[in-house]
Symmetry: C2
Subunit: 451 residues, 2 copies
């Protein structure tokens, strides 16, 4: 009853699987939730998993299968006969099925389609036809529709009849003959109402919906905002074509947060888990930006070369170079991070820009001043009063410039319809660095040469 | 029916409110969802909101109230008479009520408690007694319990009777006389079963639960993993004390992602929206780390001072300083970001450490080599063959050291029971910078002085 029951003991299961005693292993596994079973068996060979799955009822096979990592699903698809694969496919939920189908090699797709029932075939065709990242690509067709003329008793009978096959029966959509949504009604409301009350008198008519072409993140934000169990999805002609459920919404939200998080360090889009990612995939996802940033940094090198004279004369200036450029970069990446996340969660919108810039100038001035005071003493100790003055002044300017770059970049990217999350810490840092080098040595050149 | 209906037209509403025509404004607002009403009216003065709310039925008042920002709730609490406040409190869901109550000044809390019914009073006392951040602090007491001896017909009758007051009736918990959970049953299952079937024969007995003392993030991860609508929460004696529902889980997950995201740029915990945060709050959240990083950077300054001789002799070395230390920092913050997120989502656990370190060494070597090749040519152009060799060699070493710092720090923090997200980009960058300066000039000193 408590969690402890859920900690799977791997020892005996591994022993059974190594000895090819699959029915014994399955017996032990059957106590657990299908998610946990999938996470336990995904470490074995495809052939062993195939044998293990055979020990489960077909609907559990389908569910465990849908929780396996995508690459493992593909390996298993090679093992499974077309007949078994069809059976598993039939028992998967429409959205998982369409996802899986999409990834199969074309030849395999074509050999499978004729065997599936027409309804499933049409369903796959429809669900796989939406662009990746759109609401259509994550929706499911597993929902119940009701007629407005139904009584609650009739509605309940229809729900009972369809409950087995549907992902959710807790919200039903009331549609007209053209599948246009007239209203929504929850099972909660149907249960509470008198049996002969009409659905059209009970249903909520102010239905909040999404379009299949909307981005999936936008739809997920709507589900979270209104605390929906599911949201109806419409095509361009306002006809109901699917729903997105809260559980898929949670997966999408986590994926989106991870993606933004990775972009924050200029890491390309990661598919699947870091643990399982191939070395080359990780290398590829990181190298492009690193090399681009190297070339970006050539400007700071050129900037320094330009000021070679003042540097040779005051070598102490070099001591403070990492400190100053880091401070600008750090302040800038703080601003960028605040803005990227606020834009992603919808806390801040484009029209807030002017007001926020004004606030940022004040905050950055405060930050820069505090840091200038912090470094003044060190400046005097290492380079004398002149150098200390240059360093303190540079600090204020650098922190302000860095913060403004960090704050503006996400807005500018958003304005250009690019992803604000591309305003990552390393990008902002590099931009702040280049500005920092130029500001530092220009100020030094001016102040120390006239001094 | 489509979204367009939902775009609130602020113009006429503002006009009505400015003219103190509250019932007219409320008439316009009533078409919208309570979330949207709250987000629309939160821009007005507390006094106006108070007048507006009075135009709504008491349960809508309570719901709109619970969607208002916390500071606005506090302002309103001053406006509302104790009687009205009590009415609103009674109609709020137990978790929102406890949250709100917790924030009231103590005097106000004490004046309210006697007026509330004993059940609500006990409920508030219990829900506010859990530590912030724990599962107990986000759970609600709005759930239905059933006896195992009930028939489905009896269970349905009880659900009908309690449906009005409960946040969810879609999952019911079957408990014994000591409130120990025997099983869980969904409304779905009750509806499908014959009316005289016994609950104990239908319920799932393998109940996955959380403890009130578990961290809320852990419980949310469980809800997301198993696609639950709600998870039962137990006290230390395994008695049922509450549930956490999927919608609260979505809020917690978003909050946690935002927090980790901000930590990635060393921004302290932000309460509420960036748009509304005070200047001082933003300053305070950013300055501490910035100043700490300034002092961290003094080490790199000292390192450079130590190598003053080799620098004065080869001033070209300075040109490459920002480039090299940035590269180490960037590679390190990439690794740290990957690890922090993977630890937060549970993709990676402590025992993966050794294997992942091995992989990271290989990846970092590849990254470093590619970048070394990229800078070799520039090195030759600006500083000759000797300097180019130093730079290329330094690049490989710096990228590897930076990556290893970035990868290990989250694990070490996690091992010490600290939050891995504290291994933020600026912290890793600063650590990589200090190492970078030392590596760079040591290598230069060694290679150029013996050359």
């Amino acid at each position: 009853m408590s969690d402890k029951v859920k900690e799977i003991e791997h020892g005996p299961i591994t022993t059974f699987i190594e000895n090819k005693q699959f029915s014994e292993a399955a017996e032990l596994l059957k106590e657990y939730h299908n998610v946990d079973i999938a996470h336990t068996i995904d470490r074995y060979e495809a052939e062993d998993i195939f044998q293990l799955l055979n020990e489960f009822p077909i609907d559990d096979q389908a569910e465990i299968f849908s929780y396996l990592p995508h690459n493992m699903q593909m390996d298993l698809a090679d093992e499974l006969s077309t007949k078994t694969l069809t059976a598993v496919l039939k028992n998967m939920s429409p959205d998982d099925r369409a996802d899986f189908f999409n990834q199969l090699p074309e030849g395999r797709q074509e050999s499978l389609l004729p065997i599936l029932a027409k309804a499933e075939r049409d369903d796959i065709r429809r669900l796989t036809s939406y662009e990746e990242g759109s609401t259509g690509a994550v929706m499911t067709s597993d929902y119940v529709t009701l007629s407005p003329a139904f009584t609650c008793r009739e509605a309940l009978a229809k729900l009972r009849e369809q409950a087995e096959d549907k992902e959710t029966i807790y919200n039903s959509y009331v549609v007209d003959e053209n599948r246009r949504v007239l209203g929504v009604i929850s099972l909660h409301e149907i249960i509470l109402a008198p049996p002969y009350a009409k659905i059209e008198d009970l249903m909520g008519t102010n239905v909040i919906s999404a379009y299949a072409s909307d981005s999936k993140e936008e739809t997920v934000r709507k589900i979270a905002k209104y605390d929906f169990l599911a949201i109806p999805v419409l095509d361009t002609e306002n006809r109901l074509v699917g729903i997105v459920t809260y559980d898929d919404a949670m997966d999408v939200a986590e994926e989106a947060a991870t993606e933004d998080f990775h972009k924050g360090a200029t890491i390309g889009k990661m598919v699947g888990r870091v643990r399982d990612a191939s070395l080359f995939h990780l290398y590829k996802n990181r190298i492009v930006w690193l090399v681009l940033l190297v070339f970006g940094n050539i400007f700071s090198g050129a900037g320094i070369a330009f000021f070679e004279d003042v540097i040779s004369e005051h070598i102490a200036l070099v001591f403070f170079l990492p400190l100053l450029i880091d401070s600008g970069g750090n302040a800038g990446s703080q601003s960028a991070t605040l803005m990227v996340r606020a834009l992603a969660t919808g806390d801040v919108v484009m029209r807030d820009w002017a007001r926020l810039i004004g606030r940022e100038v004040i905050i950055a001035f405060g930050l820069g001043l505090t840091m200038a005071i912090a470094v003044y003493g060190i400046g005097v100790y290492r380079g004398g009063f002149d150098v200390a003055m240059v360093i303190s002044l540079t600090m204020v300017v650098i922190v302000m410039v860095g913060s403004l770059i960090g704050m503006s970049l996400p807005f500018i990217l958003s304005r250009l319809n690019l992803d604000p999350a591309a305003a990552s810490a390393p990008l902002v840092t590099s931009m702040a660095d280049i500005s920092g080098v130029l500001i530092y040595f220009s100020l030094a050149n001016f102040l120390l040469n006239i001094a």
